[in-house]
Protein backbone atom coordinates (compact mmCIF):
# COMPACT_ATOMS: atom_id res chain seq x y z
CA UNK A 1 0.00 0.00 0.00
CA UNK A 2 2.80 2.32 1.01
CA UNK A 3 4.65 2.16 -2.29
CA UNK A 4 1.41 2.96 -4.10
CA UNK A 5 0.81 6.00 -1.90
CA UNK A 6 4.46 7.05 -2.33
CA UNK A 7 4.22 6.62 -6.08
CA UNK A 8 1.00 8.66 -6.15
CA UNK A 9 2.61 11.34 -3.98
CA UNK A 10 5.63 11.45 -6.28
CA UNK A 11 3.39 11.71 -9.36
CA UNK A 12 1.40 14.51 -7.74
CA UNK A 13 4.61 16.29 -6.78
CA UNK A 14 5.88 15.89 -10.30
CA UNK A 15 2.60 17.22 -11.65
CA UNK A 16 2.70 20.07 -9.21
CA UNK A 17 6.27 20.91 -10.18
CA UNK A 18 5.33 20.51 -13.81
CA UNK A 19 2.50 22.97 -13.49
CA UNK A 20 4.67 25.32 -11.53
CA UNK A 21 7.33 25.14 -14.23
CA UNK A 22 4.77 25.70 -17.02
CA UNK A 23 3.24 28.57 -15.14
CA UNK A 24 6.71 30.05 -14.67
CA UNK A 25 7.43 29.57 -18.38
CA UNK A 26 4.06 31.11 -19.28
CA UNK A 27 4.80 34.03 -16.98
CA UNK A 28 8.23 34.45 -18.55
CA UNK A 29 6.91 34.28 -22.11
CA UNK A 30 4.08 36.65 -21.19
CA UNK A 31 6.62 39.05 -19.71
CA UNK A 32 8.80 38.77 -22.81
CA UNK A 33 5.79 39.31 -25.05
CA UNK A 34 4.65 42.27 -23.01
CA UNK A 35 8.09 43.87 -23.10
CA UNK A 36 8.34 43.32 -26.87
CA UNK A 37 4.87 44.85 -27.30
CA UNK A 38 5.90 47.84 -25.19
CA UNK A 39 9.12 48.17 -27.20
CA UNK A 40 7.28 48.02 -30.53
CA UNK A 41 4.41 50.26 -29.47
CA UNK A 42 5.97 53.69 -30.21
CA UNK A 43 7.10 52.67 -33.72
CA UNK A 44 3.77 50.98 -34.42
CA UNK A 45 1.77 53.99 -33.21
CA UNK A 46 4.03 56.31 -35.24
CA UNK A 47 3.68 54.16 -38.38
CA UNK A 48 -0.10 53.89 -38.01
CA UNK A 49 -0.57 57.60 -37.30
CA UNK A 50 1.87 59.03 -39.81
CA UNK A 51 2.05 56.39 -42.54
CA UNK A 52 -1.05 54.21 -42.64
CA UNK A 53 -3.61 56.88 -41.75
CA UNK A 54 -2.30 59.48 -44.27
CA UNK A 55 -2.05 56.84 -47.02
CA UNK A 56 -5.58 55.67 -46.15
CA UNK A 57 -6.80 59.27 -46.26
CA UNK A 58 -5.05 59.76 -49.61
CA UNK A 59 -6.68 56.60 -50.97
CA UNK A 60 -10.08 57.72 -49.68
CA UNK A 61 -9.61 61.22 -51.09
CA UNK A 62 -8.64 59.86 -54.51
CA UNK A 63 -12.17 58.47 -54.92
CA UNK A 64 -13.86 61.75 -53.96
CA UNK A 65 -15.03 64.59 -56.20
CA UNK A 66 -13.56 68.08 -56.51
CA UNK A 67 -16.03 70.71 -55.44
CA UNK A 68 -16.13 74.41 -56.26
CA UNK A 69 -13.29 76.56 -54.87
CA UNK A 70 -11.13 73.50 -54.30
CA UNK A 71 -13.38 71.91 -51.71
CA UNK A 72 -13.72 68.13 -51.51
CA UNK A 73 -17.21 66.76 -52.15
CA UNK A 74 -17.66 63.39 -50.46
CA UNK A 75 -19.18 61.64 -53.45
CA UNK A 76 -17.62 58.43 -54.81
CA UNK A 77 -16.13 58.66 -58.31
CA UNK A 78 -13.53 56.94 -60.47
CA UNK A 79 -13.09 60.01 -62.67
CA UNK A 80 -9.80 61.00 -61.01
CA UNK A 81 -8.20 57.74 -62.11
CA UNK A 82 -9.75 58.00 -65.58
CA UNK A 83 -8.39 61.56 -65.91
CA UNK A 84 -4.81 60.29 -65.58
CA UNK A 85 -5.20 58.65 -69.00
CA UNK A 86 -5.91 61.99 -70.71
CA UNK A 87 -3.24 62.80 -73.34
CA UNK A 88 -1.93 65.81 -71.37
CA UNK A 89 -1.20 63.75 -68.28
CA UNK A 90 0.02 60.75 -70.26
CA UNK A 91 2.62 63.10 -71.81
CA UNK A 92 3.73 64.22 -68.34
CA UNK A 93 4.01 60.59 -67.16
CA UNK A 94 5.95 59.68 -70.32
CA UNK A 95 8.31 62.64 -69.89
CA UNK A 96 8.93 61.89 -66.23
CA UNK A 97 9.57 58.23 -67.02
CA UNK A 98 11.99 59.27 -69.76
CA UNK A 99 13.89 61.65 -67.47
CA UNK A 100 13.90 59.05 -64.68
CA UNK A 101 15.22 56.34 -67.04
CA UNK A 102 17.97 58.62 -68.42
CA UNK A 103 18.94 59.70 -64.92
CA UNK A 104 19.01 56.12 -63.65
CA UNK A 105 21.06 54.78 -66.58
CA UNK A 106 23.61 57.61 -66.42
CA UNK A 107 23.83 57.43 -62.62
CA UNK A 108 24.52 53.69 -62.76
CA UNK A 109 27.05 54.11 -65.59
CA UNK A 110 28.86 56.87 -63.68
CA UNK A 111 28.49 55.27 -60.26
CA UNK A 112 29.52 51.68 -61.01
CA UNK A 113 33.18 52.47 -61.87
CA UNK A 114 33.39 54.73 -58.83
CA UNK A 115 31.97 51.96 -56.61
CA UNK A 116 34.51 49.54 -58.12
CA UNK A 117 37.40 51.91 -57.39
CA UNK A 118 36.19 52.51 -53.81
CA UNK A 119 35.82 48.75 -53.26
CA UNK A 120 39.30 47.96 -54.54
CA UNK A 121 41.40 50.59 -52.76
CA UNK A 122 42.77 50.22 -49.22
CA UNK A 123 40.20 50.14 -46.43
CA UNK A 124 41.31 53.49 -45.02
CA UNK A 125 41.11 55.17 -48.45
CA UNK A 126 37.73 53.59 -49.17
CA UNK A 127 36.43 54.99 -45.89
CA UNK A 128 37.70 58.46 -46.78
CA UNK A 129 36.20 58.26 -50.29
CA UNK A 130 32.83 57.13 -48.89
CA UNK A 131 32.79 60.06 -46.46
CA UNK A 132 33.81 62.44 -49.28
CA UNK A 133 30.96 61.04 -51.37
CA UNK A 134 28.39 61.60 -48.65
CA UNK A 135 29.70 64.98 -47.48
CA UNK A 136 27.92 67.19 -50.08
CA UNK A 137 24.62 65.67 -48.92
CA UNK A 138 25.02 67.64 -45.71
CA UNK A 139 24.56 70.84 -47.70
CA UNK A 140 20.96 71.80 -48.42
CA UNK A 141 19.71 70.56 -51.80
CA UNK A 142 18.23 73.97 -52.50
CA UNK A 143 21.61 75.69 -52.10
CA UNK A 144 23.24 73.11 -54.35
CA UNK A 145 20.60 73.71 -57.02
CA UNK A 146 21.18 77.48 -56.83
CA UNK A 147 24.88 76.75 -57.38
CA UNK A 148 23.93 74.81 -60.49
CA UNK A 149 21.91 77.82 -61.68
CA UNK A 150 25.01 79.99 -61.23
CA UNK A 151 27.20 77.49 -63.08
CA UNK A 152 24.87 76.65 -65.98
CA UNK A 153 23.56 80.16 -66.65
CA UNK A 154 24.05 81.72 -70.10
CA UNK A 155 26.52 84.10 -68.43
CA UNK A 156 27.52 81.50 -65.87
CA UNK A 157 30.87 79.98 -65.05
CA UNK A 158 30.84 77.13 -67.62
CA UNK A 159 29.79 79.34 -70.54
CA UNK A 160 32.28 82.05 -69.50
CA UNK A 161 35.14 79.54 -69.35
CA UNK A 162 34.19 77.95 -72.70
CA UNK A 163 33.92 81.37 -74.36
CA UNK A 164 37.18 82.66 -72.92
CA UNK A 165 38.93 79.50 -74.14
CA UNK A 166 37.50 80.13 -77.59
CA UNK A 167 35.68 76.79 -77.75
CA UNK A 168 32.32 78.49 -78.28
CA UNK A 169 31.40 81.92 -79.61
CA UNK A 170 27.85 82.16 -78.28
CA UNK A 171 26.74 80.88 -74.89
CA UNK A 172 25.10 77.44 -74.98
CA UNK A 173 21.70 76.91 -73.37
CA UNK A 174 22.67 74.68 -70.47
CA UNK A 175 19.95 75.80 -68.09
CA UNK A 176 16.15 75.42 -68.12
CA UNK A 177 16.00 72.27 -70.23
CA UNK A 178 15.99 68.49 -69.75
CA UNK A 179 19.80 68.40 -69.79
CA UNK A 180 19.98 70.61 -66.69
CA UNK A 181 17.28 68.53 -64.98
CA UNK A 182 19.14 65.27 -65.66
CA UNK A 183 22.47 66.75 -64.47
CA UNK A 184 20.78 67.94 -61.26
CA UNK A 185 19.08 64.60 -60.72
CA UNK A 186 22.34 62.67 -61.27
CA UNK A 187 24.03 64.92 -58.74
CA UNK A 188 21.29 64.32 -56.17
CA UNK A 189 21.14 60.53 -56.51
CA UNK A 190 24.74 59.54 -57.33
CA UNK A 191 25.80 58.92 -53.69
CA UNK A 192 22.68 56.82 -53.05
CA UNK A 193 23.38 54.73 -56.13
CA UNK A 194 27.08 54.22 -55.40
CA UNK A 195 26.64 52.87 -51.86
CA UNK A 196 24.61 49.68 -52.61
CA UNK A 197 26.79 48.94 -55.63
CA UNK A 198 29.91 49.41 -53.49
CA UNK A 199 28.51 47.04 -50.86
CA UNK A 200 27.81 44.30 -53.43
CA UNK A 201 31.19 44.75 -55.18
CA UNK A 202 32.98 44.58 -51.83
CA UNK A 203 31.22 41.28 -51.01
CA UNK A 204 32.40 39.78 -54.29
CA UNK A 205 34.89 36.93 -53.82
CA UNK A 206 38.14 37.87 -55.64
CA UNK A 207 38.86 34.15 -56.03
CA UNK A 208 36.02 33.88 -58.55
CA UNK A 209 37.57 36.56 -60.76
CA UNK A 210 40.97 34.86 -60.44
CA UNK A 211 39.36 31.53 -61.39
CA UNK A 212 37.71 33.13 -64.41
CA UNK A 213 41.06 34.58 -65.52
CA UNK A 214 42.79 31.24 -64.95
CA UNK A 215 40.20 29.55 -67.15
CA UNK A 216 41.16 31.88 -69.99
CA UNK A 217 38.46 34.52 -69.87
CA UNK A 218 39.49 38.08 -70.73
CA UNK A 219 38.64 41.11 -68.59
CA UNK A 220 35.46 41.90 -70.56
CA UNK A 221 34.22 38.30 -70.46
CA UNK A 222 35.05 38.06 -66.73
CA UNK A 223 33.14 41.27 -66.12
CA UNK A 224 30.09 40.13 -68.15
CA UNK A 225 29.98 36.53 -66.89
CA UNK A 226 31.18 36.85 -63.29
CA UNK A 227 31.29 40.39 -61.89
CA UNK A 228 28.10 41.78 -63.39
CA UNK A 229 25.77 38.86 -62.48
CA UNK A 230 27.16 38.68 -58.93
CA UNK A 231 26.78 42.42 -58.35
CA UNK A 232 23.35 42.57 -60.00
CA UNK A 233 21.42 42.88 -56.67
CA UNK A 234 23.48 45.96 -55.82
CA UNK A 235 22.86 47.46 -59.25
CA UNK A 236 19.14 46.77 -58.96
CA UNK A 237 19.07 48.36 -55.49
CA UNK A 238 20.81 51.40 -57.01
CA UNK A 239 18.25 51.46 -59.83
CA UNK A 240 15.40 51.48 -57.32
CA UNK A 241 17.05 54.09 -55.10
CA UNK A 242 17.51 56.36 -58.13
CA UNK A 243 14.46 55.70 -60.27
CA UNK A 244 11.77 55.83 -57.58
CA UNK A 245 12.63 59.17 -55.94
CA UNK A 246 13.52 60.61 -59.34
CA UNK A 247 9.90 60.38 -60.57
CA UNK A 248 8.53 62.19 -57.55
CA UNK A 249 11.35 64.72 -57.08
CA UNK A 250 10.01 68.12 -58.14
CA UNK A 251 12.61 70.54 -56.74
CA UNK A 252 15.20 69.87 -59.46
CA UNK A 253 12.63 70.10 -62.25
CA UNK A 254 11.25 73.33 -60.82
CA UNK A 255 14.62 75.05 -60.42
CA UNK A 256 16.70 73.70 -63.30
CA UNK A 257 13.86 72.87 -65.70
CA UNK A 258 12.40 76.35 -65.50
CA UNK A 259 8.89 75.16 -66.31
CA UNK A 260 9.98 73.58 -69.59
CA UNK A 261 9.90 70.06 -68.23
CA UNK A 262 7.27 68.70 -65.88
CA UNK A 263 7.37 65.45 -63.96
CA UNK A 264 4.71 63.55 -62.01
CA UNK A 265 6.05 65.06 -58.79
CA UNK A 266 5.52 68.59 -60.13
CA UNK A 267 2.04 67.64 -61.31
CA UNK A 268 1.08 66.31 -57.88
CA UNK A 269 2.55 69.41 -56.20
CA UNK A 270 0.59 71.71 -58.51
CA UNK A 271 -2.66 69.78 -58.02
CA UNK A 272 -2.40 70.24 -54.26
CA UNK A 273 -1.26 73.89 -54.32
CA UNK A 274 -2.17 75.85 -57.46
CA UNK A 275 -5.01 73.81 -59.03
CA UNK A 276 -6.45 72.92 -55.60
CA UNK A 277 -7.69 69.62 -57.02
CA UNK A 278 -6.86 67.41 -54.06
CA UNK A 279 -8.75 64.30 -55.25
CA UNK A 280 -6.85 64.23 -58.56
CA UNK A 281 -3.54 64.91 -56.77
CA UNK A 282 -4.35 62.04 -54.40
CA UNK A 283 -5.13 59.72 -57.34
CA UNK A 284 -1.78 60.62 -58.94
CA UNK A 285 0.01 59.97 -55.64
CA UNK A 286 -1.65 56.58 -55.27
CA UNK A 287 -0.64 55.60 -58.82
CA UNK A 288 2.95 56.72 -58.07
CA UNK A 289 2.95 54.72 -54.82
CA UNK A 290 1.62 51.68 -56.69
CA UNK A 291 4.46 51.92 -59.25
CA UNK A 292 6.99 52.16 -56.40
CA UNK A 293 5.49 49.17 -54.56
CA UNK A 294 5.49 47.15 -57.78
CA UNK A 295 9.19 47.90 -58.33
CA UNK A 296 10.08 46.93 -54.76
CA UNK A 297 8.04 43.72 -55.16
CA UNK A 298 9.94 42.83 -58.34
CA UNK A 299 13.19 43.60 -56.53
CA UNK A 300 12.37 41.26 -53.64
CA UNK A 301 11.12 38.55 -56.05
CA UNK A 302 14.46 38.71 -57.87
CA UNK A 303 16.16 37.99 -54.56
CA UNK A 304 17.04 41.54 -53.59
CA UNK A 305 17.66 42.42 -49.96
CA UNK A 306 15.46 45.16 -48.48
CA UNK A 307 18.34 46.11 -46.17
CA UNK A 308 20.21 47.43 -49.22
CA UNK A 309 17.31 49.85 -49.80
CA UNK A 310 17.55 51.10 -46.26
CA UNK A 311 14.46 49.16 -45.08
Amino acid sequence: MLPVILKEAMRMKKNKEGTVVTKHKDKKSFKARLSSIIMCAPVTIWSVLFVLVPVGMLLFMSFMTKGPLGKIVYKFTLDNYAEIFKPVYVTVVKQSLLIAVWTTVLTILLGYPLATVIAHVKKKTSGVLTVLLMLPLWVSGLVILYSFVVMLNNSGIINTILMSLGIIKKPIDLLYNNFAVIVGMIYMFLPFAVLPMYSSIEKLDPGLIEASKDLGAGPIKTFCKVTLPLTAPGIFAAVILTFIPCIGYYMVTDMLGGGTSMMVGNLIYRQFTIARNWPFGAALSIILAAIILLMVLIYTKLGGDLDDLGA
Binding site: L110, I144, F148, V150, N153, S155
Partner: protein, 59 residues
Protein backbone atom coordinates in the same frame (compact mmCIF):
# COMPACT_ATOMS: atom_id res chain seq x y z
CA UNK B 1 53.93 39.87 -68.27
CA UNK B 2 55.23 43.43 -68.66
CA UNK B 3 52.36 44.24 -70.97
CA UNK B 4 49.94 43.12 -68.27
CA UNK B 5 51.69 45.27 -65.68
CA UNK B 6 51.61 48.27 -68.01
CA UNK B 7 47.92 47.70 -68.68
CA UNK B 8 47.25 47.47 -64.96
CA UNK B 9 49.15 50.69 -64.31
CA UNK B 10 47.30 52.52 -67.09
CA UNK B 11 43.99 51.25 -65.73
CA UNK B 12 44.83 52.39 -62.21
CA UNK B 13 45.82 55.86 -63.49
CA UNK B 14 42.59 56.05 -65.52
CA UNK B 15 40.64 55.00 -62.43
CA UNK B 16 42.25 57.73 -60.36
CA UNK B 17 41.58 60.36 -63.05
CA UNK B 18 37.97 59.21 -63.24
CA UNK B 19 37.52 59.42 -59.47
CA UNK B 20 39.05 62.92 -59.41
CA UNK B 21 36.77 64.08 -62.24
CA UNK B 22 33.68 62.64 -60.56
CA UNK B 23 34.57 64.23 -57.24
CA UNK B 24 35.13 67.53 -59.06
CA UNK B 25 31.57 67.23 -60.40
CA UNK B 26 30.29 66.42 -56.92
CA UNK B 27 32.16 69.27 -55.24
CA UNK B 28 31.83 71.91 -57.98
CA UNK B 29 28.52 73.33 -56.65
CA UNK B 30 29.93 73.42 -53.12
CA UNK B 31 33.05 75.28 -54.28
CA UNK B 32 30.94 77.71 -56.33
CA UNK B 33 28.73 78.31 -53.31
CA UNK B 34 31.78 79.00 -51.12
CA UNK B 35 33.33 81.28 -53.77
CA UNK B 36 30.15 83.28 -54.29
CA UNK B 37 29.66 83.70 -50.56
CA UNK B 38 32.54 86.23 -50.75
CA UNK B 39 31.08 88.00 -53.78
CA UNK B 40 29.76 91.49 -53.28
CA UNK B 41 27.31 91.52 -56.22
CA UNK B 42 23.61 90.80 -56.02
CA UNK B 43 23.76 89.38 -59.53
CA UNK B 44 24.39 85.64 -59.94
CA UNK B 45 27.17 86.05 -62.46
CA UNK B 46 29.03 89.35 -62.13
CA UNK B 47 32.07 89.35 -59.91
CA UNK B 48 32.37 92.28 -57.52
CA UNK B 49 34.27 92.92 -54.30
CA UNK B 50 37.19 90.74 -53.32
CA UNK B 51 37.24 88.91 -56.68
CA UNK B 52 37.15 92.14 -58.61
CA UNK B 53 40.12 93.42 -56.61
CA UNK B 54 42.05 90.19 -57.28
CA UNK B 55 41.23 90.35 -61.00
CA UNK B 56 42.18 94.07 -61.25
CA UNK B 57 45.46 93.50 -59.45
CA UNK B 58 46.42 90.55 -61.65
CA UNK B 59 45.48 92.41 -64.84
Amino acid sequence: MEKRKKKKRVMSILGKVYVVLLFLFIYAPVFVMIAFSFNDSHCQCSVVGIYNKILCETV
